[in-house]
């Protein structure tokens, strides 16, 4: 009699589960059958914002970041996370900032109004900087997976962090590489007039000048142009042995193409914005031998890189463009801070973000007092046989180069 009663309860529960399935995630297994079960831990939902360009010319890179965040959220939910004794379900709120500084502030406000606990974004420095004020006012911690303009973390906000090396590190690294390894003596510099491109080019120029190279031309274009023949022609007349470009792949691709058709023989080097598979597709054969730097280790040298690339491919059926691993790690950094603070309240876990010491996909992550990544490595790549190949990894801040050979050489030079 009692047993039959119990059975009917279970059956009713099972029915409820089946009908409930359509709307919500199934509730925990029908424990109710067991009498006097401990009360199920309270479930809270924590929203993580993701802000990047999902439409427009840079959509492929923005979607890459969002995918990284989504992957992290799904992994966390699958593993089950408890914060302060409460079970947590994470939810991604992805917004499109169109790579537009004005839209970025609107998006930031929207995320703040949606009460997200933390934000991964934005992609562009030009978007991250204006948006950071809004997050700072709302007290929401922000990790940019990719913004490399130094100004981003220099505004005195406690909420801004990044998991890439910034241009004051990347630019000089490129500059040093150009002078020491490529032996460039006369250099032409082009930037795309954005916070990122110009910042990178400025930092590069300062280092190159200080090292005694001659800057024979400093040109600007925009992030929407595809015709650079006039600029390149002018540069051709100055006969540089290296052309440096601060900008992203939709410009870099046609630029190297036009370089070749103008018969310019100079070497070409750029920043992380053009270190994409798309650059090679856009430039075709002209991409061969072109170089670019990229903060972080090469994907296959990242501690969690290989597994991540495979997981990403299985989930999205696409190659990792650029910053998906950074987006993934940014979420993990937030969640670890929440765990340490035992709270998903930004006001409580924000101080813990600064104390991060996380072994991420991209390597060890720790922040300095400004929120910049400590000892972020930078890798220089070259296009060989239609593929990006790692040439050399440099860790700014750490005097020893990651490559022992280079260290030996500099020792030899000192002697």
């Amino acid at each position: 009699m009692k047993r039959r009663h119990l059975l009917s309860v279970v059956a009713a529960l099972a029915l409820a589960v089946i009908y409930g399935c359509g709307k919500e995630a199934p509730p925990p297994a029908p424990k109710a059958a067991a009498p006097a079960a401990a009360p199920a831990p309270e479930m809270i939902t924590v929203k993580i914002g993701s802000a990047s360009p999902l439409t427009g010319p840079q959509a492929h890179i923005g979607i890459d970041i969002r995918n990284g965040v989504q992957l992290a959220v799904e992994d966390l939910n699958a593993a089950g996370v408890e914060i302060g004794g409460k079970k947590v379900k994470f939810e991604m709120v992805a917004e499109d900032d169109e790579a537009n500084p004005t839209k970025a502030t609107t998006v930031a406000q929207k995320l703040a109004d949606a009460k997200v606990a933390a934000v991964v974004g934005h992609f562009n420095s030009g978007a991250s900087i204006p948006a950071s004020k809004i997050y700072a006012d709302a007290g929401i911690p922000q990790i940019s997976p990719s913004s490399t303009n130094p100004k981003y973390t220099q505004q005195g906000f406690k909420t801004t962090f990044r998991v890439v090396a910034h241009d004051d590190q990347q630019g000089p690294t490129l500059g040093k590489f150009a002078i020491e390894k490529l032996k460039a003596k006369s250099i032409a510099i082009i930037d795309d007039s954005t916070a990122y491109g110009q910042g990178l080019a400025d930092a590069f120029e300062a280092t190159a000048r200080a090292a005694g190279a001659k800057i024979v031309a400093r040109e600007h274009t925009t992030d929407k142009d595809t015709d650079f023949s006039a600029i390149l022609t002018k540069i051709k007349g100055r006969k540089p042995d290296l052309i440096m470009f601060g900008g992203i792949d939709p410009q870099a691709g046609p630029m190297v193409k036009q370089m070749v058709s103008l018969g310019i023989k100079a070497k070409f080097i750029g920043g992380d914005g053009m270190q994409t598979p798309n650059f090679i597709k856009l430039a075709g054969d002209a991409a061969e031998g072109m170089m670019a730097s990229m903060p972080g280790l090469p994907k296959d040298q990242m501690p969690g890189g290989k597994a991540f690339v495979e997981k990403y491919k299985a989930k999205f059926n696409a190659e990792v463009e650029l910053f998906a691993p950074m987006g993934y790690d940014a979420v993990m950094v937030f969640v670890e801070a929440m765990k340490r603070a035992a709270s998903a309240d930004p006001a409580k876990f924000l101080p813990e973000v600064g104390n991060t010491n996380h072994q991420g996909v991209i390597g060890p992550i720790a922040f300095d007092d400004k929120g910049d990544l400590k000892n972020g490595p930078i890798t220089i790549y070259v296009v060989k046989g239609g593929k990006w190949e790692a040439l050399e990894t440099v860790t700014p801040g750490a005097p020893e180069s990651a490559e022992p050979k280079a260290a030996e050489k500099s020792d030899a030079a000192k002697k």
């Binding site: 274009t221 023949s229 046609p254 058709s261």
Partner: protein, 307 residues
């Protein structure tokens, strides 16, 4: 000197593309008094169709010129269809409406085309397969590729053909008559609706051709590429005198040259204060000067009822 010559070559190639697109604006304006803002996006569609067809056929083993010819024909066909249906659906019902109404539908059509293209082709920059390895030629130290020469010569040939066609053929005469006065032309037995459709057909075909040239030259396509190109071509049409066919050609070439020379020399002329990203200032400065001194454009006639 060789650098100056090189800038001239760059400018002429850029200018021939502007000129072809500008023709589409100017012919429609001449006949309807309508600024067809969607024309730049017709060029975009032409470019993307070319890209898709080429990508699809790239591995088929056909010789490259044949593939390109098929792609160009497909682009022209799609654009003609689009242009004619656009006129039917969005402009013809509004022909007697106040001037502002068709202008607004034009902007609407432009967005419709852009975002339909974004749906169909996605929002990424798409690469054009490199089918033809172009050879390099050098004249007095300036380099140009076979492709550049081809673009320039083809544009010139098409424009000469167009001028001849408008001057001598019966349809051309009918177009000119409709341009002068649609009502009277109608009374003379000209089917003005057909002539207007034909104008859109011609403009769209030229636009498609410009699209083919753009993907060949720059090697990439994107759903938003028509916007800036359209703006520049419209400027070129106004520069030459909008409504005037030879004017659009002149305006396009001039704009290409101005842009090229400005970005080449603006930095030196201003002592580095203005960079080459300010080249559009020069282009639009010239436009303003022309409009102040000759309000109807370089080759435009003074027309009392259109300003």
């Amino acid at each position: 000197m060789d650098i100056f010559l090189q800038q001239l070559i760059n400018g002429l190639v850029l200018g021939s593309i502007y000129a072809l697109v500008a023709l589409g604006y100017t012919m429609v304006y001449g006949i309807l008094g309508l600024i067809n803002f969607a024309h730049g996006d017709i060029v975009m569609v032409g470019a993307l169709v070319t890209l898709t067809v080429t990508q699809a056929l790239a591995g088929s083993g056909l010789p490259a010129p044949v593939i390109l010819l098929i792609a160009a024909c497909a682009a022209i066909a799609v654009c003609i269809l689009l242009g004619i249906s656009m006129e039917r659906v969005a402009y013809r019902p509004l022909r007697r409406a106040p001037r502002l109404a068709p202008l607004i539908t034009a902007i609407g059509i432009s967005m419709l085309l852009q975002y339909s293209a974004a749906l169909i082709w996605g929002k990424q920059y798409m690469p054009m397969p490199e089918l033809i390895k172009t050879d390099h030629y050098a004249v007095a130290g300036a380099q140009f590729t076979g492709l550049q020469a081809f673009i320039f010569l083809l544009a010139c040939a098409v424009m000469a053909g167009l001028l001849w066609f408008i001057k001598t053929s019966r349809i051309g005469q009918a177009m000119r008559a409709t341009e002068q006065n649609p009502d009277v032309a109608g009374l003379m037995g000209i089917d003005t609706n057909r002539i207007i459709s034909f104008t859109f057909l011609l403009g769209s075909a030229l636009g498609a051709l410009a699209g083919v040239m753009v993907v060949l030259y720059y090697g990439l396509g994107h759903y938003f590429m028509g916007f800036m190109l359209g703006m520049k071509a419209f400027t070129a049409a106004v520069l030459g005198g909008i409504g005037n066919v030879p004017g659009a050609m002149l305006g396009g070439m001039l704009l290409g040259l101005i842009e090229s020379l400005a970005s080449g020399y603006i930095g030196d002329l201003t002592g580095g204060v203005l960079g080459s990203n300010y080249r559009d200032i020069f282009a639009f400065l010239v436009l303003i000067l022309v409009l102040v001194l000759r309000p109807s454009g370089l080759m435009g006639q003074r027309v009392s009822d259109r300003a």
